[in-house]
Assembly symmetry: C2
Homo-oligomer: 198 residues x 2
């Protein structure tokens, strides 16, 4: 008996996923406050009444969609960091994945939209901060092992740099990872005995 026939609950879950996916796409394309229930339903090829059946409100759908995408990215990124054998290699692979984002791609836009929405909604901000703390602590641990001073602050700055670069990249085409890598590497200056500036 290979796959059991989908139950009503199964189909419900699938519609839920379609709605979440459609919402993330539209947040990126049109901006958070320009997403409508009708637009989401149309993109998901679903009646618009379903939006309010599966979610309490349009805003609840948007928040869950945005947080879900961020969480997925956080999972991938932490896995990438943990798979690297050295801090150098971790930075290299982070820079490499950075090249996948142009600043105008859906993921970059969704991230910025989410930060912006969170800046106006305390609860969303708490949830987002929780996700970011996980990445930052993981990164800080790695930096600490490599002797980078102030690992917590350095990790926070590194994460901020990534999002800042995404913001600026469309306006500054020179911001390639090749050009920026050597500069960022200075942030990882390690404390070696007797190397202090007089």
């Amino acid at each position: 008996m290979p796959p059991p026939p989908p139950t009503a609950a199964d189909r419900g879950r699938e519609v839920r996923q379609r709605l979440l996916r459609a919402a993330t796409e539209l947040i990126a394309e049109r901006g958070w406050s320009a997403v409508s229930t009708r637009g989401v339903a149309e993109r998901a090829e679903v009646g618009q009444g379903l939006v309010h059946y599966h979610f309490a409100s349009l805003d609840a759908l948007l928040q869950q969609a945005a947080l879900g995408t961020v969480e997925e990215f956080v999972r991938e990124f932490t896995a990438l960091m943990e798979s690297a054998v050295s801090t150098e290699e971790a930075l290299d692979s982070a820079l490499g994945s950075l090249d996948g984002f142009s600043g105008t791609d859906p993921i970059s836009l969704l991230f910025t939209e989410t930060y912006l929405a969170a800046a106006r909604d305390e609860e969303l901000m708490r949830a987002l901060a929780g996700l970011l703390t996980r990445v930052r602590d993981g990164l800080a641990g790695r930096l600490s092992d490599s002797g980078v001073p102030q690992p917590q602050e350095t990790a926070a700055v590194l994460l901020a740099v990534v999002d800042g670069l995404m913001l600026h990249r469309p306006a500054s085409p020179s911001l390639t990872s090749a050009a920026v890598g050597p500069v960022l590497r200075r942030l990882l200056t390690t404390t070696t005995p007797g190397s202090e500036t007089p």
Copy 2:
């Protein structure tokens, strides 16, 4: 004859300014795509028909309002940079002014909203890129004088860091200028003879 009585054209200009100011406030408060002609007119204490008299469309008003605020900030920032006598002092005063922004204040939000709007509108992006180039070139010149390697790239990264920190600050309360200053100072590592890593 001290102040000549305001002409009709004078009053028109003043209404225009009120509309621009109201638009910037509302972009920050509610988000770019949630600003309405009625909202702007109400905030400016003006009939809503005036919006379309003074501006071709709502979007034209929003773009002019956003670019105007960014340009004003660029002017202030470049003046601040040029008044500093050393790169160290320039970084200090830049970090100091950074403390004035919480990430949820109107200016931070307006900047992010503008980047986002520009990412979806090529013409707006060109205008924004022009403004940013001025700041970046000025900063790069100063870095170059101080012997910082890759001044152009370093300047671009520094500007990106500032906006990234604004994005992350509400989620990471530890991102004070005091905590972040020492980390950022590593970016200004100067090339001194014989200081290369073996």
